[in-house]
């Protein structure tokens, strides 16, 4: 996120703290999709993800006056979203969660092996990304898709910065292993 947009987000939060409904609409329109996708990747259920992002933005409405501006608004949003997603997952039985997670994201691509046979390396890579553990998937999403710095990932996930780097390394290493198992040797690590 650009510095200008980040500063603009802070202005919006200030207005929301004063009860400005329009500012809330702008902030919601700006961030809802990314927050939704982040939550959906965690909980694996569209309806649950939609309910959770409503809760996330309602929390923003209620707590805007407590936002201290020490981090970007988008980082604050993802941290709230992550907390709500994990709380929601803890409330559900494991079996139900696994089943939902497995079927949540519609994937029409072939298995990695089949994809490789079709020489579709991109599809195989996407398949392997989905096969990563939630922990690894989360850090990869935050870095590559949500464009979060090491410090911001540490804040969202609640781990030290050094652990962020290590976790990212092992996530990528695992990805290479999955690809290798699917017949694609990237020559790393």
């Amino acid at each position: 996120m650009s510095a200008n947009l980040s500063a603009s987000d802070e202005v919006l939060i200030g207005r929301i703290a004063q009860g400005d409904r329009l500012a809330m609409q702008v902030l919601f329109a700006r961030h809802q999709v990314r927050v939704y996708r982040f939550v959906l990747r965690l909980v694996g259920n569209q309806a649950v993800a939609e309910d959770l992002i409503s809760e996330v933005f309602l929390d923003v409405w209620r707590q805007a006056d407590r936002f201290e501006g020490r981090s970007a608004v988008s980082t604050w949003l993802l941290a709230i979203a992550r907390f709500k997603a994990l709380s929601s997952m803890r409330r559900k039985p494991d079996e139900e969660l696994d089943e939902e997670t497995a079927g949540a994201i519609e994937d029409t691509s072939d298995d990695p092996e089949v994809a490789v046979q079709k020489k579709d390396k991109s599809a195989a890579l996407r398949k392997c990304l989905q096969a990563l553990s939630p922990e690894h998937r989360e850090v990869i999403d935050l870095v590559y898709y949500h464009e979060k710095s090491v410090e911001e990932v540490a804040e969202i996930v609640g781990i030290p910065e050094a652990t962020v780097k290590t976790r990212m390394f092992y996530a990528r290493k695992r990805l290479s292993e999955l690809l290798k198992a699917a017949g694609i040797d990237r020559g790393w690590p």
Binding site: Y36, R37, Y144
Partner: protein, 235 residues
Amino acid sequence: MNKTNQKMSADDLEALLPWYAAGTLDAREADEVEAALSADPELARRFDLVREEMTETILLNEALGVPSARVMENLFKAIDKERKSARAPAATSGLGAWLSDLFTPRAFAFAAGAAAIIILLQAGVITKMMLQTPVDVPSGASGSGFETASACPPTCTEPGAFVLVRFAPQASIADITRFLDSRDAVIVDGPRPGGAAGMYRVRVAEMALPKDELEKVVKEFQSSGNLVSLAMPAP
């Protein structure tokens, strides 16, 4: 060696490749990674792998779709509900808020100041009227006035020290009598009409008192609880 000029190891640099690809490194780190990529073909090859991962991660996330309109509807329904419930108590508690504002220390100080000014003005008016009020005007003479058997005009030479007193409405005759007896005081005039309505002239000493002593007596009257509502030296 401080952090700004400390060189990163090859492993550190490689670990930063994902953030370099996303453009989220600070300028110093980005410069170091960039220099390393130019100098190390193997690192550059690994960076290509990072870029592939990043591209596919973005595609994967973009394929997740967007939330339905239901989310926004539900959110703003909830927000509007909270706004309404937040406004409702504010409207009904208007009187309470007004009262609490009224009883702030600042408001009290202002009220006390205003009351002091009013009392001084009232005392001034009363004094002026006492000086101007004709007493014992012979019947049929011009001007209005009133007569009391014991009245003494301001200019009379009746010896003694005098205080003008307005007794509190709730004070009973018995209480007032006890109060005056305890101080050897006696009502010699009143009640006064007009601007000094309800004021009594009370003799508090047989002989004239020095100013400071008379003021002390006035303070005693003023601090007599709920019997006296106003007391001041009589001219």
